[in-house]
Symmetry: C2
Subunit: 134 residues, 2 copies
């Protein structure tokens, strides 16, 4: 893992995933799980939990890039645009800073809509990993 | 909702919740779901996904405080200490800034271990809510 390394990962959550996420976390906000309610909002259709998108960063950092041994120290997230179940998005992670002494890295974390190439979510992760970074 | 208003919410995730979260998000990092593997790490026992704790903020902001109509604009999170399934924690949210013109608020988001009174997770949420803040 070195500066400016980039990792991309396509993903799609189903509406069933959104419902499961709502059940596990207790976040039953109807804008995510009730199409009739969502129709009355500015979103018109159900939107994914922003945190379900952000959970992808946890998956990638912990299992793929850098992977096993990662300790998640922090995450900044801006939810820029609504995201929808059943649609493919792309997570793009880029190494922005490496501190070899402390085994730490700062990784830019974005989610892109492949159709528009616009970011739906941007932010930065702080991670530590003794296995991989060193 | 006014400046310095505080909302507290006790919660507990079961190991089944952690497993469901792992399945839904794809974050199968064994430190969360495999006790034998966890025993080989600095944590010794399985730890919760930090993002599962953070998902609590999504639940609270979207359904309880301020509740319905909340649009989640952003979240900063620092994962300070590991958290464990089967243990009760307390989320503490405090209103730090209100912008009535834009219907926006900045809310401090903490998770406290009630036994030690120490924070396991700290951060800030940015939210918009046309129903409640105005």
């Amino acid at each position: 893992m070195k500066l400016n390394d980039t990792f991309t990962h396509d993903f799609l959550y189903s509406q069933k995933d959104v419902e499961d996420f709502a059940r596990v976390t207790g976040d039953n906000n109807p804008v995510h799980i009730n199409a009739e309610y969502a129709a009355t909002t500015m979103f018109k259709v159900p939107i994914m939990h922003g945190m379900l998108g952000a959970a992808l960063f946890s998956k990638i950092l912990g299992t793929l890039f850098p992977g096993e041994g990662t300790i998640y120290l922090g995450q900044n997230i801006q939810f820029l645009k609504p995201m929808y179940a059943g649609k493919t998005y792309q997570a793009v992670l880029t190494v922005k800073e490496i501190n070899l002494e402390k085994n730490r890295a700062v990784i830019e974390t974005k989610i892109i809509d492949p159709e528009t190439q616009k970011a739906t979510t941007v932010g930065e992760a702080n991670v530590m990993n003794v296995n991989v970074i060193k």
